[in-house]
């Protein structure tokens, strides 16, 4: 029973803050709402017994990305600045598309009879996760783990060359 209350609490938070994130006029607030969503999601992960994942979610997402976002907001906007909202037409059309898409997707997904839960279960404690992460056999994830490092390296280099100020950079600024 507890778990259900917890679930509905988290679900409610996720939904409300998701919607608030995309509708609030204050940018900084949106970032905070996003943080709430991410934290609630981490709560869901805890519920599902993926503790490691939840931890990663909190550190990387909530701790890393949101902070990055907030910094960049502070860098580019005034705190009190209110974001412009989309025009009526754009808003209505987007809402229509989104509602239609959500409805269709939900109907389709809910009508699908998912297979029964498989019987055997692998442990999802940190130890087995760690083992899987460096295993290069079936169900091992060494390769993605390596590749993601390449991606992060490349992204870092990319971010640096884009964001780095140059001597010539100011010349053409409007």
């Amino acid at each position: 029973m507890n778990s259900e209350i917890l679930f509905f609490l988290l679900a409610g938070m996720i939904l409300v803050f998701s919607i608030l994130t995309v509708t609030t006029r204050r940018i900084l607030r949106a970032a905070v709402y996003l943080l709430f969503v991410l934290v609630s999601t981490a709560g869901l992960y805890f519920m599902l017994n993926y503790n490691f994942l939840a931890a990663v979610q909190l550190t990387v997402y909530a701790g890393g990305i949101v902070v990055l976002i907030i910094f960049s907001i502070l860098l580019t906007s005034h705190i009190s600045e209110r974001a412009k909202m989309a025009g009526k037409f754009q808003g209505v059309m987007s809402a229509l598309a989104v509602v239609a898409g959500a409805t269709l997707t939900l109907i389709t997904i809910l009508n699908y009879s998912f297979p029964a839960k498989s019987l055997n279960e692998v442990p999802s404690d940190v130890k087995s996760i760690g083992r899987a992460l460096v295993s290069y056999n079936e169900n091992g994830y060494a390769l993605p783990f390596e590749v993601v490092s390449i991606l992060l390296l490349a992204a870092m280099i990319g971010a640096i060359i884009v964001a780095r100020k140059e001597k010539t950079a100011d010349k053409n600024i409007k």
Binding site: T21, V22, V37, I69, T105, N139
Partner: protein, 105 residues
């Protein structure tokens, strides 16, 4: 720990989150808020993966690791995106999405 909550509830949450993310992408006027919408989308996908993994296929950790990787990718994406947005800010003195339409037609 999930008790009697059916899988579908998770899916509903994730789907709604996904589409609110899309809604945000389509309507927010600030590049950074658009980026935030993207994070919502990715997050919803993660919920899906995790829920499937736990509910249907506990015999493997695919969903789990998929989520893990997606989080990492999201971080990389956010990094580059923010770098570019800052660059945009330098160039346009604004991060309003409607100002970024120099090239069209």
């Amino acid at each position: 720990m999930t008790g009697t909550i059916p899988l579908q509830y998770f899916l509903i949450i994730s789907t709604l989150m996904f589409f609110s993310g899309i809604f945000g992408f389509l309507t927010r006027k600030n590049l950074i808020t658009m980026l935030m919408s993207i994070e919502l989308i990715l997050n919803s996908v993660n919920i899906n993966f995790v829920a499937f993994n736990r509910y249907l296929y506990p015999d493997n950790l695919h969903g789990h690791f998929f989520t893990l990787i997606v989080i990492a990718v999201a971080a990389a994406e956010a990094a580059v995106a923010i770098a570019i947005i800052i660059n945009i800010y330098r160039n346009f003195r604004s991060i309003e999405v409607d100002k970024v339409d120099e090239m069209k037609f």
